[in-house]
Symmetry: C2
Subunit: 370 residues, 2 copies
Amino acid sequence: MYAERLARTRAAMADAGVDVLLASVGPDLPYLIGYEAMPLPRLTMLVLHRDGPATLVIPRLEVARVVERDDLFAIHGWDETDDPIGLVADLCGRPGTVAVGDQTWARHVVDLLDRMPATRWRRADGITGPLRARKDAFEIDQLRAAGAAADRVAAQLQAGEVRFVGRTEAEVSEEIARRLLAEGHAHVNFSIVAAGANAASPHHHASDRVIAAGEVVLCDFGGVFATPDGTPGYCSDMTRMFWVGGEPPTEFVELYDVLHRAQSAAVAAAVVGTPCQDVDRAARSIIDAAGFGAAFIHRTGHGIGLFEHEDPYIVAGNDAPLVAGNAFSIEPGIYLEGRWGARLEDIVVATPQGPEPMNRADHRLTVLDA
Amino acid sequence: MYAERLARTRAAMADAGVDVLLASVGPDLPYLIGYEAMPLPRLTMLVLHRDGPATLVIPRLEVARVVERDDLFAIHGWDETDDPIGLVADLCGRPGTVAVGDQTWARHVVDLLDRMPATRWRRADGITGPLRARKDAFEIDQLRAAGAAADRVAAQLQAGEVRFVGRTEAEVSEEIARRLLAEGHAHVNFSIVAAGANAASPHHHASDRVIAAGEVVLCDFGGVFATPDGTPGYCSDMTRMFWVGGEPPTEFVELYDVLHRAQSAAVAAAVVGTPCQDVDRAARSIIDAAGFGAAFIHRTGHGIGLFEHEDPYIVAGNDAPLVAGNAFSIEPGIYLEGRWGARLEDIVVATPQGPEPMNRADHRLTVLDA
């Protein structure tokens, strides 16, 4: 698997005129060799030559964490008093163009700029993004398992197993996180619980605000699902909506109905060959037509895989067509500041047989007793 | 507090000849304005002019997360179809030298290189590192609270409240993580549990290996302690050693005794004015003299604060003297590959009255029944 990915990456480097690709923290490294760099100042970096060897530069004390693959890459452990940047620069040689992984820390990039003044720098996501965005059967299985685990937590919430009213958003958030772990996630990326007017802030997290009866509650949660062999896992991400205590006002029911129709339409539009922006438009046009256009203040979705936000982005201006194996969120939202908001989200994979949702938990607004 | 920090940063920029400082993900932004950027591709970046304004460029849908301080910085929210890199480049103007925060994603740095070809790039940690490394009274209080919470978990482990034998490293790791949260941490950064020969790998995490009677177990854990007002919190990080089931062999007791003496000596050496490398040497010379020098394969410590690894580094070659307010780990280790290993770690603050340990849990090897 990794041999094939490295070969495809080298071919893409040739197409793009890139001589060396540098992968550090972030999803490129686990995608290419199955190892995830520790997010710490000590440099871990794969130096991948288009027409030459691959070498993993890594702190000596982390070498034991790597599953060695002598056929694919060499390992160069560095000691505490070594100069890892000099080492990377030496391994690079004198390349014309170097592509550097998206999340690589600026400290390393700036240090390399100094050592390699004649080099032209590019973003590696132009190379690895499209490759990583086309999930293979193994990866889709992993996303399916992650989605099913998140669905089980959603179903528990919908069945009323988690009390909302009288608890803080933060308490409910922690309980959702615990349940994600219990359902097989290796760790939780986020667990947003936004009640009442907080639901109008798309990236509100969870506060000490106590949830009251007669309120809307937005739950948006996800994490990294554990793989059987401990290799880096794939992400879940889903949103479901709740009305707690009493019946929801007609106005909110109508708003949610618009959102539900918009989300379903975008999922249905996520067909191989359709430009990403048309999937965004499928949701947006329904929300626009209902008069909520100005309240849908973000794109419809983002790709997902080893990382929670990656290619392809489902956004106006992205005319790239969906290809089989693309995995992404479909998550339109309607936000009325100071009042309430709603979002509905599934992960969807574009397959030759049509869009396959990774999330199947009930899409309706769940009404719960206080 | 933030006004003072911004003023000190601007003064340091003047000393270093830096015109603009860019802070994004990582600890610089919370240090400067109390806001932590989401670690996602959408750009959040503070553009701080030495002799001009500060502007926070942030996705519009995250603006509501920021506590506004009109007197300190302007907020510029960008929409999904805007070009945030162009916006940052415009706000920068035509600076000669720009310093960019350590953990800023390479994608943004590479994009800025293209837009600002005449600019000289520097690492911001040359500016913010020494400032952040000198903790004020509030920060030391936070570190003290974080250390006391980690100490409570260590004491629970030492009292035998957590079963080791018959459970996997991963199960014990999860239990330690739960206890860190229960003791007031907002989240857990790591919870290393390494049994037997796994203790010889300094950055081993926790595996499905079942812990057996008659083994050494290394527990190294830490996280971010929750602050009362929800502003970004400070880190804990400590290591304690256990022998489970039966009495430890003399050979290990002797090894641990060397380690214990080395760690105590380094803590005692952490006096204001002492070069960092001399603190490292205080531990290393004892371990060397006992014949374990080749088995102490990492530096003695790292600074800690809003981030788990920052200035000052307690390492050979760092001749910078400790200043009052420096906070750092003292964590020598002895690792015998294939056999066993040990590490002992406290966080220590250098104060005018001498080294103040943030961790006071029993430093002896804890022997537990199976």
